[in-house]
């Protein structure tokens, strides 16, 4: 019974945090891209546009739900559910930190630790294709059909190099459970270089990491691989005919996939919640330092406001930041917060990379996309896997 209650509480917390992350990821993306393009981005709703995600949700919920004529109704309604279901359920095997104990309760910061966790994620990503393919097919629209076809072909093609790229670090770390993967990446070389898979001997998995990130961009249909929804060719691709909540479901699935893939990259290659350098060199003060610095910048701009509203909002944000920074100094809280900080910092860096690339790179042409997967990524992934296997066998 205790297990059931604990699991329910953990599931509620994870679901809440994930939903908030998805909503604000979109806000961050709009802000970052706006600044890349010398705009200011959303700033009408709430201070600095912070309530924009809420406004978007209300807009999407209350919008009229259009049903185009001659669609295949069953599959038309089923597709967004499939997409969002397989995208959201993947978070259940992702660990966010080590074991924690609150009072008498000892639990892992993870919903469930499967001994086949990596395979589970691969299986789910394979099933996610159905949502996109069916949406394109059921919509009775040639642009949507082309988008659906493109995405199925693209996802099948990039799944191969992705699986190969995942296999190489697994050979070194010797397990399929995410928790044990992170444990196998603990420790430091010469007391300073972390033993993350990207640095770990006998063959640092840096090539594998880049292959995985590139394949992950293609799997999540993001720029520069966003051919399934190429706006200027296919209107909006597979979700052309979807409106209101059904469109929101696809949107949410895309962002949830981004988060999952970033988490997997962090866990497989970047050592999960293992800090960048050992605690004896002061890695546990990094979060405090960052939050204090952020708070100080906010306070400075709050006292020298550019806009009248900044006089109120920025000092509040600054005090919140300083409070969070101070929380990292309390030993009991820090044991929970530190792994979370390192984990979310790494995931955040990869997510920022996603947004950065969306703001800077143009889209591939379709033949370039396929050539890249089959004639470049696949051979490189095989060579990398071969060398890794050889070196692991020799040592």
């Amino acid at each position: 019974m205790n297990f059931l209650v604990l699991s329910l509480i953990k599931a509620a917390v994870v679901a809440f945090v994930l939903m908030t992350t998805l909503a604000y990821l979109q806000w961050i993306e709009r802000k970052v891209i706006a600044h890349i393009q010398l705009r200011v981005g959303p700033r009408r709703v709430g201070p600095h546009g912070l309530l924009q995600p809420l406004a978007d949700v209300i807009k999407l919920l209350t919008k009229e739900d259009m049903l185009p004529s001659h669609v295949n109704k069953v599959f038309y309604f089923l597709a967004p559910f499939i997409a969002v279901f397989f995208a959201l359920i993947a978070i259940s095997v992702i660990p966010f930190g080590g074991e924690i104990s609150i009072g008498p309760i000892k639990t892992a910061m993870q919903l469930t630790d499967l001994n086949i966790g990596v395979l589970f994620i691969l299986g789910l990503s394979g099933m996610g294709v159905y949502g996109v393919a069916l949406a394109g097919w059921a919509s009775n629209n040639k642009y949507a059909l082309l988008g659906g076809l493109r995405s199925s072909a693209q996802m099948i093609s990039y799944e191969l190099p992705m699986a190969m790229a995942i296999a190489a670090p697994l050979l070194m770390l010797n397990t399929l459970s995410f928790r044990q993967l992170v444990d196998a990446q603990g420790g430091y070389y010469f007391g300073i270089i972390p033993r993350w898979a990207v640095f770990q001997g006998p063959f640092p998995q840096i090539i594998s990491f880049f292959l995985f990130v590139i394949a992950a961009f293609a799997e999540t249909n993001r720029v520069p691989f966003d051919l399934p929804e190429a706006e200027n060719e296919l209107v909006a691709g597979f979700h052309t005919e979807y409106s209101s909540m059904k469109f929101a479901a696809f949107f949410m699935a895309e962002y949830a996939n981004m988060v999952t893939v970033s988490c997997v990259a962090t866990l497989l290659f970047l050592g999960g919640w293992q800090p960048l350098f050992p605690a004896e060199y002061g890695s546990k003060f990094i979060p405090t330092l960052i939050f204090l610095l952020g708070g100080a910048i906010c306070l400075f701009h709050g006292f020298n406001p550019v806009r009248p509203l900044d006089r109120i909002t920025l000092p509040v944000a600054g005090i919140v930041f300083i409070g969070i920074g101070a929380a990292f100094l309390i030993p009991i809280v820090a044991t929970i917060l530190l792994p979370l900080f390192w984990f979310s910092a790494k995931v955040g860096v990869i997510l920022f990379l996603y947004i950065w690339i969306r703001g800077t790179l143009p889209r591939f042409r379709y033949d370039q996309l396929m050539n890249f997967a089959w004639t470049f990524m696949f051979p490189v992934a095989i060579a990398n896997l071969f060398i890794t296997g050889l070196l692991v066998a020799l040592t």
């Binding site: 499967l114 086949i116 394979g126 099933m127 393919a133 097919w137 059909l145 799944e159």
Partner: protein
Amino acid sequence: MDAILFLLFAAIAVVCAINLVLQSHPISSALSLVGVMGSLAVLYLLLGGEFIAMAQLIVYAGAIMVLFIFVIMLLNAGTELRSKRHLWGMYAGIPMLLALVGVVAYIVRDVLPASGAVVFGSFQHGNPEDIGKNLFVNYLLPFEVTSVLILVAIIGAIVLARKEVD
């Protein structure tokens, strides 16, 4: 709990399998097959075959069926036309089916040697470590021979599908 899950997913598998035959549209049939594959994966999981379950999900439900659906969508296959039912099929179909089920049930129950009752959770060797050990230590030769066979099949497929270059 295990028994309830088993009955649930066995029922889903059977319903999907029947639906696969009854549906007239290729996409519906293909998706029913995905349902069958998915419920089979859950059944493997209940019996302790974790690796097999995930392989089923990734290879069959994921890769192969996506390829099926891709081809169906690419060929734009429409609803299949039904011919008028044959007289034999109309009147003798159901009794013959029942007879077949009866014979199979009889063979499984009385002719085949009795196997012990299945206990959920008693089989503990379905994890990737044990599978790998068995494949690469105990059954290395059959494994390698199979991989050569698959290689031959791949090359054959490429040769057959290749365009003639003059």
